[in-house]
Amino acid sequence: MNPHVVGANLVVRIKSFYREKSTMFFMIAFPIILILVFGALFMNQDNMSFDLCVQDLDQTDSSAHLVKTLEIDGKFKIIKLDATISATQYAKDNKLNLILAIPKGYGWSFLQRTALNDTDASINLTYLYDPSSISVSMKMQILNSVFAGINQKMSGKPPFIQSAETSILARKYRFIEFFIPGIIAMSVMTLSLFGTVNVNTELRQKGVIRKLSTTPITRADWILSNILYQFILAVLSTMAMLLVSYAVFNVSLQINAWLPVFIALDVFAFVGVGMILTRFAKEAESAAAAANAISFPMMFLSGSFFPLEMMPGFMQTVARMLPLYYVNEGLRASMVFNDHMAALRYSAIIGVFAAAVFILGIIATKWEEGQ
């Protein structure tokens, strides 16, 4: 390994990158766009509320009190409909998936039950709903639970079974804080894999690699300089992602020594995979297709975007065989849970994988034209 040679390669790669403004922009911008889009989509998931249209046909104090009760825990933002219009037609015209209708006589029935203690007095609230809507069943379930609470309160006896919620985490985390480490792991993987495959197949097709094979540079020098270059890009990209995450979503993530360790292992592993792909793909197009075939399933299966628990059992087993899973979990262990032992365990697993593919990458790299 010659530091002069590695340094010379690094300088050339960084200059080439710096002079290709569009590549630089998209490399930094793509993961940031992902964070902004997914972050905006899931930002309210932890504090979700629905719009609910209510038509109060009774117009009494009791019915008004019921509407107010629905608003209290913040699950619904109430939109009141005029009692004179057709609720069904209004729902169709305004593409609403649910309208709650409080019928005339609600106040009287309420009075019979509470003041006159008439246990036979009851009332039917009407759900006017669109069964093809995905979110309507969730709204109806929440409404049912609110009404069950009211019914139980009217019975005058305390509930027998109650639930107590205790988070297993030291503090309450938001979805975005789980999401960001996954995006960092995923974008470092794609950066390293595609960066290696694209540049190396292009240089091989153009004949630059053939020229380099007539100089003292070795395969190990070449791969090491690739890894250093990709590591610098990965650090820049991660810094940009974290900056946006802190500024826009005010995330609370731990930045410690594990972050560069996992970035380095992610780079090592996927530059090695890229080198192996470059060896076996004849053309730049087939190399890119092979990189896509590896990275896309990995992105979705290894828990970068979705928690593993959402997947069927056999797919969870597959996910645990993917290297990116261990980078995701390692970053989450260090950045979200501050669990150094778990981070150490995950880093050991990805470290063994990275070392293996790095050695295979050196062996697979076709330097001389050979036989």
Binding site: S16, R210, P216, E368
Partner: protein, 316 residues
């Protein structure tokens, strides 16, 4: 100094196969230190395979190649530090300038004392030193490729078809650079299919066809030993001159520019033809008598190397 020591390159019974294809077929030759050696042949003759085995890019199937006294299959690491290579279809990093490219290759060889300015001057790229590689024309790229091949001040320089694909002006610019290197006494191994290039630059020429060396020698010796005629070219003001020459027993060829070319054995024949044309009242616009060139030797030898076997196939 022994003969072996004099030879910068020694090739013995070199063979290279790609599956069923025999690209190089048991060839042997030597290249002396300080000479410009041209491997001349048509496309697909085996020139690039031969040079790429000698300059360590490829490995041979069999045979021995010694470069600067070292076996090319065993001492690649030592050899590459002492040679310079311009591979066929040379290319470099698109977004790196001429100067940066030379600095990069110089650092690969760990040559801290390479005079980059001198190299830029040598290949006449001073005005383009700050230009990115991708903005250079084909000729300028080739000149940069030659400068790169010189960053480590090599003892032997390999140039694989350095002017292929260049326009006539760019080709001549590259020739000027190569003539400069020849004056400096560099050992140069050149492959080309341009006869004019080999004739102008080479001290020794080997003609290769279908993977075999069919002849070797200096351009003058090859012309001398393979031709025994002169080429007379006339531009008469009347086409009846063709008929006059034909009646004298020669085989004149009239081209589209109304030039008549005749092969004659002696200078006396030239005089006879000129007299006959003059007697017929035909005037001449121009007249040229020259020896055959390497192209005519090449065409003669490569055509002779091919024959039709009884099954109708073209074979060597």
């Amino acid at each position: 100094m022994t003969k072996e020591a004099e030879h910068a390159i020694q090739v013995k019974n070199l063979t290279k196969r790609y599956g069923d294809l025999l690209a190089v077929n048991d060839i042997s030759f030597n290249v002396r230190g300080g000479e410009v050696f041209a491997l001349l042949g048509p496309n697909g003759a085996g020139k690039t395979t031969t040079v790429e085995i000698i300059d360590t890019i490829r490995t041979p199937t069999s045979g021995n190649v010694t470069l600067l006294g070292m076996d090319v299959t065993k001492k690649k690491h030592d050899i590459v530090r002492r040679i310079g290579v311009l591979p066929q279809g040379f290319s470099s990093f698109d977004r790196i300038t001429v100067r940066e490219t030379l600095q990069y290759y110089s650092r690969l060889f760990c040559c801290m004392n390479t005079n980059i300015d001198e190299l830029i001057e040598l290949v006449d790229l001073k005005d383009k030193a700050k230009e990115l590689y991708k903005t250079l024309s084909g000729g300028l790229k080739q000149r940069l490729g030659i400068a790169i091949a010189l960053v480590n001040d090599p003892e032997v320089l390999f140039l694989d078809e350095p002017t292929t694909g260049l326009d006539p002006r760019a080709r001549r610019e590259v020739w000027q650079v190569l003539l400069g290197l020849k004056k400096k006494g560099k050992t140069v191994f050149l492959t080309t299919h341009y006869m004019e290039e080999a004739e102008l630059l080479a001290d020794m020429v080997a003609i290769i066809s279908k993977g075999k060396v069919i002849t070797m020698g200096s351009p003058e010796a090859l012309i001398e030993s393979n031709t025994n005629y002169l080429v007379l070219t006339l531009k008469p003001d009347d086409e009846k001159a063709v008929e006059i020459v034909r009646k004298m027993g020669y085989e004149p060829v009239l081209d589209s520019h109304k030039d008549i070319t005749v092969r004659v054995e002696h200078t006396d024949d030239v005089q006879k033809i000129l007299n006959a044309i003059k007697d017929a009242g035909v005037s001449l616009h121009s007249l040229d008598v020259r020896k055959p060139n390497l192209e005519e030797v090449f065409l003669k030898l490569t055509s002779a190397a091919l024959r039709i076997d009884p099954d109708g196939e073209v074979v060597e």
